[in-house]
Symmetry: C2
Subunit: 420 residues, 2 copies
Amino acid sequence: MTAHLLTIGDEILIGQIVDTNSAWMSRELNLRGMRVNGKSSVGDTREEIIQGVEHAASTADVVIMTGGLGPTKDDVTKKTLAGMFDSGMSFHQETYDRIAAFFARIGRALPAAMRDQATVPDKALLLPNKVGQAPGMWFERDGKVFISLPGVPFEMEYLMSAEVLPRLQQRYPAQPIAHRTLATAGEGESVIAKRIEAFEDALPPHIKLAYLPSLGQVRLRLTGVWNGPLVPDAQAILEAELDDKKMALHALIPDIVYGYEEESLQQAVGKLLLDQGKQLGTAESCTGGYVAHLITTVAGSSVYFPGSVVTYSYEMKSKLLGVKPDSLTRFGAVSEETVREMALGALDTLGVDVAVAISGIAGPSGGTPEKPVGTVWMAVCDRERTVAVKHHFGRDRLKNIQLTGVYALNLVRQFLLGQV
Amino acid sequence: MTAHLLTIGDEILIGQIVDTNSAWMSRELNLRGMRVNGKSSVGDTREEIIQGVEHAASTADVVIMTGGLGPTKDDVTKKTLAGMFDSGMSFHQETYDRIAAFFARIGRALPAAMRDQATVPDKALLLPNKVGQAPGMWFERDGKVFISLPGVPFEMEYLMSAEVLPRLQQRYPAQPIAHRTLATAGEGESVIAKRIEAFEDALPPHIKLAYLPSLGQVRLRLTGVWNGPLVPDAQAILEAELDDKKMALHALIPDIVYGYEEESLQQAVGKLLLDQGKQLGTAESCTGGYVAHLITTVAGSSVYFPGSVVTYSYEMKSKLLGVKPDSLTRFGAVSEETVREMALGALDTLGVDVAVAISGIAGPSGGTPEKPVGTVWMAVCDRERTVAVKHHFGRDRLKNIQLTGVYALNLVRQFLLGQV
């Protein structure tokens, strides 16, 4: 089965919003063995919608539209679709009641425009939207499926997960498919590729490996598609096979794999701290609180994270962390001596078991020939030992801060595991 | 002139990356009066590229392609385009020399694949890529323009700014156009719309107002398009007219406008601190360092930002900020009393002139009937006075942190200006 994704609305065409919906939908369809073979965007006039839908239908089995259903704009989209599928429009009491209940729940008066939101094409199979107003709509014509969803990301995600994906899987039964993802940090794509070359070359043709890189991290996704005759326990056999491959792959790179599936590095570090019954603190200079922010994006982090100090100035490094003024003047704020003293100071100041300290030159200015922009020192310690490392990142301030955050968390992880 | 944006590459179709290029390009074209009337994405096979380009050309005057030019994939894209435009392929010494110089500059060996990167269609006008490898290409056929650019965002942005936009403006001279943007924080779209209703209604037809909302902020963009006969100083007249409108709009909402054009809230706060010769510190609980992170994303912030304390635990609030244990037990960590004491404590601990303190329930758990998830107290103070305010945000942890960050910075801004 092939799908084409069509976004409707001027806000995409004028660049007011970045289309994140399409990437989410593509990923979810792909994970279920459904191929997206095209995407497009059109404005919200009748002519553009017709042209967009017909073009999409000419290239794929299923057309999934998002947007054009807001209370000020839904008229043209719905009427255009009704026209294309030879359908009248009717008021739909059930949808209206659901919308009214939704507004009652959030304590707001029901706007008059909601009568129009509940007026829908007769021929549409309605997909109830439990998290918003406009329902999703499912049309069929000449053996092709046309689905219209609201553009608000969490409404689209709800309707895709609860309604669209299960129905598509039923209508277009695919070969059993299974996935396993390993999350790694600290090595680039090419280094990983070399380390796992023999494993990758030996994979059977029905299992593929994908590299999904992001800043400082690479996720490795194994995808298996059943390729024999369909036996009742095909899915289970495939899942077991992928579990084996996952473990084999993990065994090749145990030092860089921090988790599976969607787990984030900050979640992995949090889990280790919980397991070991330890508390962590951060002492940050160039990252300016970014590492603490990453850690505290995880719900429940207060159990293992009592706090942090951000010491941008020399004075704060000495006052709050006890860094010797002599170290700062002799070696500079960006030096092994300083980050070691910062980390040790943080143990006491924050009363934690493990501390990580970071000092670097985020840029764009402040570099010297010996310490160019992107030079970062970091140290992690407990009461027994301290490990310090130096990195050289690039020239972009924000990227340097973000990369440093990933490397600092990974250093904490390795330290907790005794790998450094 | 109308443009169609076409992305080439499977990584978009499988949802591996979010297409941010299209939004950037749409915005830049729009600002120059060029309309994007469609966008689409195709995979990187010959058939898909041909079909995508022909479809795009059937709907617009200019087709701008991105992607499909990386060293492992450029072959199919370039050969397909050469075929479509009846062109041979030749090695281009100048491009090769430029690529070689680029590799020499970053201190890496020149890969053999770079000979292919420098082999390009004869009929293409080459757009030299000074920040990467693959050059941009400009083709013409039957009065339409076809432009191919690399997909790496900063290479695309460089080529658009340096080569494509100036050439398009020359080839499709548009009416003079001008923009003015006011950046606001602290009020939603609908409240702003009511406050400026009379102004908006009285705008002449050739000046439009757009609302560009983001988390906790709204940018108001005035766009004027010259609509009379073209006189030599049309642009200057239009610019002056927009300056007038900008000032008139600013005068209606002086309390919420923090800057113009691309200025960020953290830049605006930094500028005020510099102007007033003051230093700021943050004392953060639920934001976990996010406010300090925002402040330190601005280059040069070390002048006015010596540091921050993140006090997630009761103990740290008392130890580092001198919050009375009695206040914490009687009123709780999320209370007016606690944030006031945190802010005053931060003045001394961080040795700053102004401090902002934040404590709230980011969620998803930790709420109570009296203090539901999303309840946030914040206080700002100097040696003379303290202002505390309470907010109620939503249920999503990360959004609560981000919204709180914006509101906290805006509170500091208003405090520095004596507006609160």
